[in-house]
């Protein structure tokens, strides 16, 4: 479960002054459901997710992830979160096995447990063939599988995906989408940020439209379509964002 209340993040910039990257955002994501954060580049999606993953500290507001407060118990939050983003890379000089084992150890798992979980995940993701090869020799698909295994090794209750299909080919992107659905089916709380409308339609149970750091609209895809009188989600998005004005 994720509960966000009036979450705000202000960055200080020497030239531009105070920048409200996230401005009083509130929402709730439930277990076994996918909450989509839809927004253009620079809308505040990544900052919101980094706040939830405790990579950044909120300026104001609160958020609890898996029952832990992001400001007061960041380490406990991270222990219950799997964070996958286009910007979270792999250690090129480690093998996939070493990489996953390392993150298992960082999550406090015993070596025997890591071994057992790794065996199971590698079989599920069909990784056995390249498990002992260095990550810098991997194709994009192999890298994504290894990253997924890295996020799953500690079996987190909450999965946060920040534009995970960015720059991927169709087949790899489809594999990611399938994996996100599986996470939901296993009862995990999933947050998925994207600016790709088709992904939102395919995946998200609830959508929050974020623009200029503010959550402008929230609901199921069907509810948003009905409210704005448009079938094309892109048109719905433009109407919502247009009503809010440019950032």
């Amino acid at each position: 479960m994720i509960e966000v209340h009036q979450l705000t993040k202000i960055f200080q910039d020497r030239k531009r002054g105070a920048i409200r990257a996230v401005d009083g955002v509130s929402f709730r994501a439930a277990p076994g459901r996918i909450y989509g954060l839809l927004g253009a580049n620079g809308a505040g999606k990544t900052t919101t997710l980094r706040l939830l993953a405790t990579l950044l500290r909120p300026t104001a507001g609160t958020a609890t992830v898996a029952g832990f407060d992001v400001a007061r118990e960041p380490e406990k939050v991270r222990a219950h979160v799997g964070f996958l983003a286009a910007s979270t890379a792999l250690y090129g000089r480690l093998t996939a096995r070493e990489m996953i084992t390392y993150f298992g150890a960082l999550n406090g798992l015993a070596p025997a447990e890591i071994k057992a979980r790794l065996r199971r995940i590698a079989a599920e993701l069909d990784m056995d063939e390249f498990l002992d090869r260095r990550c810098d020799q991997f194709s994009t698909g192999m890298k994504q599988k290894t990253s997924i295994a890295r996020t799953l090794i500690h079996d987190p209750a909450v999965m946060i995906f920040d534009e995970p299909t960015l720059g991927l080919d169709v087949m790899t992107a489809r594999a990611i989408v399938r994996f996100v659905r599986e996470c939901r089916d296993r009862g995990k709380t999933v947050i998925y940020s994207t600016h790709v409308m088709s992904e939102v339609e395919k995946l998200c149970d609830t959508v929050g439209v974020i623009h200029g750091g503010r959550l402008c609209a929230e609901g199921t895809v069907a509810e948003l379509r009905a409210k704005h009188g448009e079938q094309d989600l892109e048109e719905v998005f433009v109407k919502i964002v247009g009503a809010e004005g440019s950032p």
């Binding site: 960055f11 990579l55 380490e75 890379a89 792999l90 090129g92 000089r93 480690l94 070493e98 390392y102």
Partner: protein, 412 residues
Amino acid sequence: MNWSNIVTVYRKELKDSLRDRRTLLSTIIIPTLVIPLLTLGLGKVMATIVTRAQEEIPTIAILGGADSPGVAAALRRAPKLRIVPAPADWRRAISDKQLRAAVELPAGFEAGLRAGAAPAVHVYHYSGELKSDLGARAVERFLTDLREQTVAQRLAERGLAPTLARPFEFARENVAPPEKVGGNLFGGIVPYLIIILCFSGAMYPAMDLTAGEKERGTMETLLCSPVARVDLVLGKFLMVLTGSLAAMACLLLSMGLTAAVGGTLLLSGGAGKAAAAAAGRTAAAGAMPMIDPLGLVGVLAMVLPVAVMFAAAAFTISLFAKSYKEAQSYLAPMMIVVIMPAVVGMLPGIDLNVRLALVPLLNVSLVCKEMLSGVWHWNYLALIFGSSCLYAAGALGLAVKMFQREDVMFRT
């Protein structure tokens, strides 16, 4: 602070760094090769150049001397001089290295000698040019011999004993043991090399583990783990420190091996001869100036907090950078900051005092020089070790603080 997490991070960083060629080059390969290259390589090349120059019989021109046929003939007979006709532009010939030196006999030189006058002979050479200097020296040796013969001849003509002009002899004898001589000879250069390699050993792992990780996107992956930031910093810092200490260990090991294996080789060369001469022995006696092992242990102990300070400073500076290249542009000028006090420490005439004992790096450089020469100022040692530990703790504290700053970790 969780030591299990720190060790996990450290072990991973160690494995990762051992697979990084740049880190291996700066922490193991260069420190291992620098001493053999400097002594056996560069030293041998220099010794060969000097030996060849010494073996060459210099071409010398006689200017004037038409009315001094005896001296001119003696010059031509001298086995270590090759007298050639003086070219019209002899100065240019010396500059162009066609002539090593020229000796000018003044008009009526021999007649002046016979009359008891003191005519001045001029020797022309190209200062700073090794072969020209050696040629001038050979001419000066000839003239010194000629002067002594003239003195002896005049004394004999007057029936006086040769001891009248040379009433006593003297000889220089060394009483310093080889390790003290070694301390004085190498006391400056050893801490200098250790300090530089300590820093360069820390530099590459520091850049790779901070700015390099940011650039490759693995820093964000790591920050997603539930490990406390302070544990991540300490695990990474220990790896940077390992790089620094590994560079120092490789340097000392290579120094020891070079001394053991290359001693004989060195002694046969010019550098070895100079060193042996300084030790008061001849090269044939086979004695090498040594470094006091106790002094070396002292140097290691004093350099330890410096290595911690370097590791933490390099880590903090690199952490601020967004990319490996940016980190390099910050750390490369730091090398000058590191070298300056180490060079000042090598200069003769700078003695340790309370104020200098508080100047980072310079204090260690000066005290190491003293320790290697067998001088142990315990009050200064305590002051320098204590202040170095304080600086190191400050640098490490800063590294931890920087790692917790969002604007540093997510600088765009």
